[in-house]
């Protein structure tokens, strides 16, 4: 924002200002990680120092989580559902966004507004009648029910994001291609999409996160241990009555987020530039 006259000092100041934000964001995660590595003895010691491990770290919570529960199966389910739901949502969102961004046809404005209205209906209310629909389709107690229902809250956001992004692709390029004989579909596939890859990545990452974190639909539409997702599985298995297995719960939190964050950091540059064009145009 500014071309600082004393660049070094400005930089240091900026990093110092970032510090509170970083502490705020990371501290709970640090605490969760620590909790997952502490022995039960120290976890339940009221005189222990919460910020450090003094009685020796342990991997027992992780081993309990990984080997004594179906955590790996649940994580597999979560990943499968998230990938498929994301894929479906991005595809549906892409074509819908392209239509809304580029074409004029009956009902375009209504549909554009309509997709937002779906967000006003809380999932904590929708899940009950939705369970009926899922049952009619024959997908009760199945992770495929999740693949089917997650797009309902992913598609609207993906569509909005991609509409903005598509508008940044100059119309002229497409028009040239079409003058040269390409169909609209070919124009979309060969021209617009390659230019919009950052936007697609952005939409995909957002959709993935939301799928990964979703709880109420996962709880309602799956029951068997082989079908449930990681969030549901971990909380079901490790919260029994009034007993909380804190060490393993926090291990679940760590294992459930670190891979995703690595994914994010890897794609982050795309993500930011994806939102860049999408949000403001």
């Amino acid at each position: 924002m500014t071309v600082a006259r004393r660049p070094r000092l400005g930089k240091v100041v900026r990093h110092l200002l970032l510090l509170p934000f970083l502490v705020f964001a990371l501290f709970p995660f640090y605490h969760m990680t620590l909790t997952s590595l502490k022995q039960d003895r120290e976890l339940y010691d009221r005189y222990a120092v919460p910020l450090l491990i003094k009685q020796g770290p342990t991997l027992e919570h992780y081993s309990k989580l990984l080997w004594e529960t179906e955590f790996l199966t649940w994580t597999q389910n979560s990943l499968l559902v998230a990938f498929l739901a994301t894929g479906a949502s991005v595809v549906l969102g892409t074509i819908a966004a392209y239509a809304l961004a580029r074409m004029k046809f009956f009902g375009v404005a209504t549909f554009g507004t309509g997709i937002f209205v779906t967000y006003l209906v809380p999932t904590s209310l929708l899940f009950l009648p939705l369970a009926q629909v899922i049952n009619w389709v024959g997908l009760g107690d199945s992770k495929w029910a999740l693949v089917l229902t997650y797009p309902t809250f992913l598609v609207p956001f993906c569509t909005w994001l991609l509409i903005g992004y598509f508008r940044t692709v100059p119309k002229e390029v497409e028009e040239c291609a079409m003058v040269d004989g390409a169909t609209r579909i070919q124009a979309l596939w060969r021209i617009v999409l390659p230019m919009a890859v950052p936007g697609l990545v952005c939409a995909a990452l957002f959709a993935f996160t939301l799928s990964w974190n979703e709880f109420i639909y996962a709880l309602t539409f799956t029951s068997s241990s082989e079908q449930i997702t990681a969030s549901v599985g971990v909380t079901t298995e490790l919260i029994r009555g009034d007993i909380y297995f804190w060490g393993s719960l926090m291990a679940g939190a760590v294992l459930g987020s670190v891979p995703i964050v690595i994914l994010y950091v890897f794609f982050l540059d795309y993500y930011v530039s994806g939102l860049t064009a999408g949000a403001i145009k």
Binding site: D40, R41, Y44, D45, R46, F127, L128, P129, A131, Q132, I134, N135, G140, D141, I216, L219, T220, S223, S224, S225, V232, T235, T236, E237, I239, R240, G241, D242, I243, Y244
Partner: protein, 424 residues
């Protein structure tokens, strides 16, 4: 596993004799399958035992059984609601306390199964009856129960030469000493079930009630309520710390496990977990009989029963499972033993169960002279009474009174809220 049992049945003379003897028709090409949704028992060993019994059931009867577990606090209710709404899901569901009342029209009449069990084991205890016997019909089969009991740090009591309390008033007296020692009493006053589980017995022991036996008259506005509130006020002031206003259901367990609380009101889960995790406080923890008040010795009980959804196409097979799990003395005993003493039998003749002798500290669970009730007693557990419970009106009344509202106003507020709910 099913095909083995089918072959087993059809090809061996033993199997044929078995069929002739028991009259169970072999699976004629169509495997009967049932599914059972139950809570994730706080004792994982119990869930393993249940799975094991389930496998034996399949081997013996040829009925395939799938057991799913679910967390009992919020998810279980959501699951029940979804299954009823879609009219599809599991065949059998385990229900906590008086949930069968909410789903009465959706549950199969299981009076026949209960009658068989009662013939063998004696009548179901009153709290189980209150919970699962709805408008003259058994809607779920009582399975076991986990009652609340006083859990205390025996070693600290001995060190300070404190008398083991017998009444709620006694508790106040020792509580003062405990707090001075740095080990206060821990009774939650928050929007969680444990708060109701303590507030109710205190209220009952003083002779009070929320809604009367007729299910319509709100009786919270009584001298007993005033006494209850005054008791809580002095407890919070002299025997407890303000943190109890934020406690969740697990907080009192954790407090005594890590050595802070000197006395809590909880099922045996606190002790058992301490023992399993080998915490330092384990040896010092013990239980004593539930406390009494001027109107008797009342205590909260959490019975659990097994119901069968009406939409199930396998009601008969489902009843067979219940009979298999609970009907044979050895199997029932095996099942109970696996749960430590958290799950106890709910039939009269089984009350003095061997599981209580596996650890001397379970002695207090015999509950001599204790009357066990479910929430909302003595009113029948209609949905209105359950809404009063689920809205935490009783603990909120107490919370208001101990944080500044006058006793009179707090009671008036509770009465008003309860009346609105009962009026519908």
């Amino acid at each position: 596993m099913e095909s083995i049992s089918r072959r087993h049945f059809l090809t061996t003379t033993a199997g044929l004799a078995g069929i002739l003897a028991t009259g169970i028709a072999p699976a004629r090409g169509q495997q009967r399958e049932i599914s059972y949704l139950c809570w994730n028992n706080f004792a994982p060993a119990s869930d393993k035992k249940l799975a094991e019994i389930g496998q034996r059931f399949t081997k013996d009867t040829g009925i395939k059984l799938k057991i799913d577990h679910i967390s009992h606090m919020g998810p279980q209710q959501a699951k029940h609601a979804a299954e009823v709404q879609t009219q599809a899901g599991h065949d059998l569901v385990e229900m906590r306390m008086h949930v069968p009342w909410l789903y009465e029209p959706q549950l199969v009449d299981v009076s026949d199964v209960v009658a068989e069990l009662e013939k063998k084991y004696g009548k179901a205890i009153s709290s189980a009856y209150e919970a699962a016997h709805v408008h003259g019909v058994w809607r779920a089969v009582p399975q076991y129960h986990g009652m609340f009991v006083a859990t205390y740090r025996e070693d600290l009591f001995k060190k300070a030469s404190l008398k083991v309390p017998d009444t709620w008033e006694d508790l106040y007296v020792v509580g003062k000493e405990l707090k001075k020692m740095g080990n206060p009493v821990g009774i939650p006053i928050s929007q969680n079930f444990d708060s109701i589980s303590t507030a109710s017995p205190v209220l009952w022991s003083f002779g009070g009630m929320e809604v009367d036996r007729d299910g319509k008259t709100v009786r919270i506005n009584s001298p007993a309520a005033v006494q209850t509130i005054e008791w809580y006020k002095k407890m919070l002031r002299d025997c407890m710390e303000p943190e109890v206003l934020s406690w969740s259901d697990s907080s009192n367990n954790e407090s005594i496990q890590q050595g802070k609380a000197g006395w809590i009101h909880n099922p045996v889960s606190a002790y058992i977990v301490a023992r399993n995790r080998k915490l330092v406080t384990t040896d010092g923890i013990n239980h004593h009989r539930s406390l009494a008040g001027p109107s008797g010795r009342h205590e909260t009980d959490v019975p659990r029963s097994i119901g069968i959804w009406k939409f199930s196409k396998n009601a008969d097979a489902s009843k067979e499972w219940i009979r298999y799990l609970l009907g044979k003395r050895e199997v029932y005993d095996e099942y109970i033993m696996s749960g430590d003493a958290f799950n106890l039998p709910v039939y009269e003749k089984l009350q003095d169960h061997p599981v209580l002798r596996t650890d001397p500290k379970y002695a207090a669970l015999k509950g001599e002279g204790v009357q066990y009730h479910t929430y909302g007693w003595p009113a029948p557990a209609s949905d209105k009474v359950q809404l009063i419970t689920n809205s935490y009106i009783l603990p909120n009344m107490i919370a208001k009174a101990v944080t500044g509202t006058s006793t009179k106003d707090a009671i008036a507020w509770a009465e008003n809220e309860m009346k609105k709910i009962v009026a519908g």
